[in-house]
Structure formats: structure tokens, C-alpha cells
Subunit: 328 residues, 2 copies
């Protein structure tokens, strides 16, 4: 295992310390793996999180216009209910808290338990579950579709609604509209290695790629021969298209997400083809985001997320945000 | 060679097309590998560039507050003088053009030739050469120190001076002050593969790292055993400290740059130690940037750049910028 780390046991702790050291607008709640804004807002608060290993998610999205708190579990492991509860308690201003959960069984159980505990304390808590990955309708870790990179659009758009002073019910409804409108799918050139295991999560031959990969080192739906980037984009796009209910003339936002070890040059090469496909279907691309937004340690590969926009979602996507990993 | 690409021959062309498709504020000069701002400024213009394979450099820094033009050569190959000349011609508003060159023999030759051709046409052209890499005092590709990730600070700070309407001589002097004040050094866990070669540029054993790596797949100064991230940071920092002329109380900006395949979690783990070292020397860290700024294809590893700030450099670093890869 060739990684930049100190000890496996301190991996998450060390990275959170490094993150807080880098970004003065972040504060870590002492004794937890929770990052919150240094300056608490007087508005509906958003909390997200999940296992570590997806950096910049989720701490990188804490800040003005996006999240108020991010809870980091161990690598690829759901955060515990007590940590999630600590986040909820820290960010609530009395206006209520929306939990943005990716659809994994462990995450849902623990976030729901924390929500119950917070409700018992009189905090108003609502939740949404992101299930944007069209690759599988169930996996080792999920009932239903998994939540992957499209989650970042939920953070951005629901975050903008909360920042604008919308009440909890409205922020939740907007988050649900984003979830209904965003569809994603990924592929991998190479697996990743969870530090505690020390071994790659699966094996791929030099001429093989994994289609429908998730973000936890789990294998995808099937393997295919390595081929031209454009053909790989075609495959992912066709799966997304089949699920997304898009129609000629729709306005969309696009996110090309590197999984951790993919150079930006390759993401841009993929985007070239993706744009051609979108144009051929007469979709109006409002904005394209290319980079690392929701990673899977040092996995090589990428995912495509396509979000159908209406006027309100477009306005909220374009609204100002100032976080370590997203500025607009 | 496992990469997301179409054909080796179209690698740069495809990535530039994908970049322009993603970022509507970029325009490609037809028939060239030059990216310029869609809206031309009425001010001193900055042009940078070099081989491709360093994405987001350099096209990702074209935009308000930073570069006006970026010239992309083939992968790890200096751009040709005619392309550089096309960039200079496109961005000059009459106020003159500053060329920001990284110190590689090929780049300097070609940028200087383009500058002479532009001067002959009556365009006022000045140049600065960035040589921030303290690892080597000469290499296969350079006389003197190489230019690496610290170059991005030159783009940002000189770009802000130009945006503020400073004349060419002042913008150049500010760029030179940044160059004098920035020192960098990198390491690699794994090599990278130039598409046209198809083979890794060097070999490293599973328990070896390369210290003093450049950004063109060239080997570094020497190999060491893989060890804790903090100890690796110690090594790089000591080399930088020995060259940087820093003193207790100095204000600095820090850039932790991933070389292409390093997950952000590992960069943050490195930043944790770096901050402890800076604090121990009583340096005042004004800002820390963590991410991929100047990459070397899919090389795993990172570099540290430390910039000593004075009041003016600090103000210009903090000034607004809006480019694909840097927003402030």
C-alpha cells in the first residue's frame, strides 16, 4: 500500500486536522469528526456526511451557501449517530436542520437515529436521501440506487435556498426536486485501497475497465475492454439518458467528477464527447463542472452527473457560495 | 497504458476542446492550442503556458484577475514560437504583454523567439522566468532551478496587478518579487506515463519514493524508503527552509499541490504536518491552498510551495479572480 499517511488509525483524524488548518472558515467540534462553519448562521442548517475517503466531500462543502456541518466517518464507513447528533446540535439556530444523506443502509440508519435523538431534544429535523446513481438498483450496501456525486448539487442548491432564508419545508422540497432531477453513473480504470485493508478492493486487468462503479471501492455492474474515452462516455451517457427523463430543449448542469487519481486532462477529454452528446440531443448546457467533487480514495475513473434545471434550480445553482471546494 | 483518451495524436486537441466546452469564458484561437479570455481586457496582458499534462495549468488560470492567454504545447513539450506569438497578438490591447515562463530551456527559447517576433510588430513584451524548485540547480531540461507549482502564485499576483491597471513595468516587477519570494519542492510515490511513449517515465519499487521530482516525469534527486507522510513533509520543508530566507514572524502563503493522482485526503494529511512546522518556526500562514494546481499527468505525489508575503503581495493574492481553476 503506497499512500501518504502516518498511521492507518489516525488517517481521518489527520486529514480533518489538515483541513481545518488549511481553511480558517472551518471549525472542528472538539472530540468529534464533525466540521462546522466557524460563524454560525441564523437560518435553516444543512448537515451532510458519510464515510471518509470522498474528499473534498463533505467538509469541503461547509461554508456560506452550502453546508453548515459535515460528519466524517472512518474511511468508507457511516458516521456514528452520536457524531451526527453533535453536528445537528452545533448548527441548529432554531430554524431547523436538513440532513442530506446518500443512500447507503448504514448512513440512513445512523442519520435517522441521530434525527430521532435531536427531535427528542426539540430540534426540528428533516432529511432527504440522494440516490442519483443509475448503474444499480441495489447493491451490497444499499436498497435502491446509491447516492454518488450528484449529491454535491443537492448541497449547492438546497444550501442556497437555506442561505436565502427559506423555511425548512421549502429547503427540503427543493432538495427533493434536485434529487428527482439528477442522474449519475461512473466507471473505473483502477480500484482503490482502503487504508485499513491494505489491499485493492478488486482487481482489474490492464485492458479492463469497470462500468457502474460506486464510490466505496465496491465493484461496478460489469467489466468491459478498455476502449476510447469517447466510447466510454457514450456508454455512461446512454444509461443516464435511459433513466433521466430528459427531453429536447431541457436546460441541464453537468458534473464530470474525477474519482481521485484521474488527471484533469482526461476529464476534459471525456467532457468533449459528453458535450457533443448533449448537443446532439438538443440539451441546453447551462454550466459544466469538471474536477474532483466526490472521490473514492485514489481510484482512477470518473462519473458523469446530469441535473435537469428549472428556473429556480438554475438561480440557486448560480447563487454565491464560498466553501473550500466550491466557490461561485 | 491505462488512460482515458481517444488517440495519442489528439490528446491535447481533445482536452482543449473539452476545456472550452466546459468554460464559456474561454475562447480558443482557431487553428492553435491557445486559450484566451472570451472578453479581451484593456490592460497589461499576461501570457503563460508550457507543455500539456499540467492541467489545470495553464488554461485553467485564464480569466479575470489572472492570465489573458495560455499556450499549450504537446504533452511535456514546449509550445512553438508561432503559437506563443498568436497568443501575444490576440491578448495585446496596446498596454503590453508579460510572458510568465517556467524555467525550462525549450520554453525559454520559444517564448523568447515569440517575444522578438512580437516586438518586431511593435508589441511591447516583457518576460519573467519562474525558478521556484529548490530541489535541483540544473537538470536534463534546465539551466538553473526549474519552474514548478509556485508559478501559479505568479499568475495570481501579477494578474491582480495587471487587472488593477498597473503598467507593464510594475506588473513585471511584482512578478519578479513573487518569483524571488516563492520556493517549492516535490516528491513522487509513482511515476507517470506520457501518452506518446506509453511507458512510465521511471520505475519505483513498492517501498520507494522519489524526492525532488519535477513536473515532466523526470526523476528527482534521489530515492528514499517510503515512510510516514509527516517525515516526508519534514524532508521537503527542510530543503525549502534552507533556500527560502524566511525568518520568524514572516507572513506566508502555502500551496500543497497534488501531482495528479494523489487524493485530497493525503494532501490534507501532509498539510497537517506542514502547518505544525510553519507554526514551530513562528511563520504566520495567511492562506493555504490545497488541491491540484500544476500536475504531472497521473503522477502520485505532491509539492509544497511557500511564498513570503509583504503587504502588497498579500493584497494582490487576496484580490478577486474568476478562472476555471482559481476563484477568490
Amino acid at each position: 500500500m503506497k499512500k501518504l499517511l502516518n498511521q492507518v488509525e489516525t488517517y481521518v483524524d489527520d486529514l480533518l486536522e489538515g483541513m481545518v488548518a488549511a481553511h480558517s472558515a472551518l471549525r472542528r467540534i472538539p472530540g468529534t469528526q464533525v466540521l462546522v462553519r466557524a460563524a454560525k448562521g441564523n437560518k435553516v442548517a444543512l448537515v451532510s456526511g458519510g464515510g471518509s475517503g470522498h474528499e473534498p466531500a463533505h467538509g469541503g462543502y461547509v461554508g456560506s451557501g452550502m453546508l453548515d456541518g459535515a460528519v466524517a466517518g472512518e474511511v468508507f464507513t457511516a458516521p456514528t449517530p452520536d457524531q451526527i447528533l453533535a453536528a445537528i446540535q452545533a448548527v441548529d439556530s432554531g430554524a431547523g436542520v436538513l440532513l442530506v444523506i446518500k443512500n447507503y443502509t448504514g448512513d440512513i440508519l445512523n442519520f435517522e437515529m441521530a434525527a430521532e435523538l435531536a427531535s427528542a431534544e426539540g430540534i426540528q429535523v428533516e432529511q432527504v436521501v440522494v440516490d442519483d446513481d443509475v448503474a444499480v438498483d441495489g447493491s451490497t450496501y444499499t436498497v435502491g440506487r446509491r447516492g454518488i456525486a450528484g449529491t454535491v448539487f443537492v448541497h449547492k442548491i438546497a444550501g442556497a435556498a437555506a442561505e436565502a432564508g427559506q423555511p425548512l419545508a421549502v429547503v427540503k422540497a427543493i432538495a427533493e426536486r434536485v434529487i428527482a432531477n439528477v442522474h449519475s453513473m461512473g466507471m473505473a480504470l483502477c480500484p482503490c485501497t482502503v487504508p485499513a485493508s491494505g489491499q485493492p478492493s478488486f482487481q482489474l486487468a490492464d485492458d479492463e475497465i469497470e462500468i457502474g462503479i460506486g464510490i466505496h471501492g465496491e465493484p461496478g455492474t460489469h467489466r468491459e475492454p478498455l476502449r476510447a474515452a469517447s466510447e466510454i462516455v457514450d456508454t455512461l451517457f446512454e444509461h443516464i439518458w435511459a433513466s433521466a427523463g430528459l427531453a429536447s430543449g431541457d436546460k441541464v448542469a453537468v458534473l464530470l467528477n474525477g474519482l481521485g487519481a484521474t488527471p484533469q486532462s482526461e476529464l476534459y477529454i471525456a467532457n468533449r464527447r459528453l458535450r457533443a452528446l448533449l448537443t446532439a440531443r438538443n440539451l441546453d448546457v447551462h454550466k459544466t463542472f469538471v474536477g474532483e467533487f466526490m472521490t473514492s480514495l485514489e481510484m482512477a475513473g470518473f462519473s458523469i452527473s446530469i441535473l435537469k434545471l428549472d428556473e429556480e434550480l438554475k438561480r440557486l445553482l448560480d447563487a454565491p457560495a464560498n466553501t473550500p471546494a466550491w466557490k461561485s
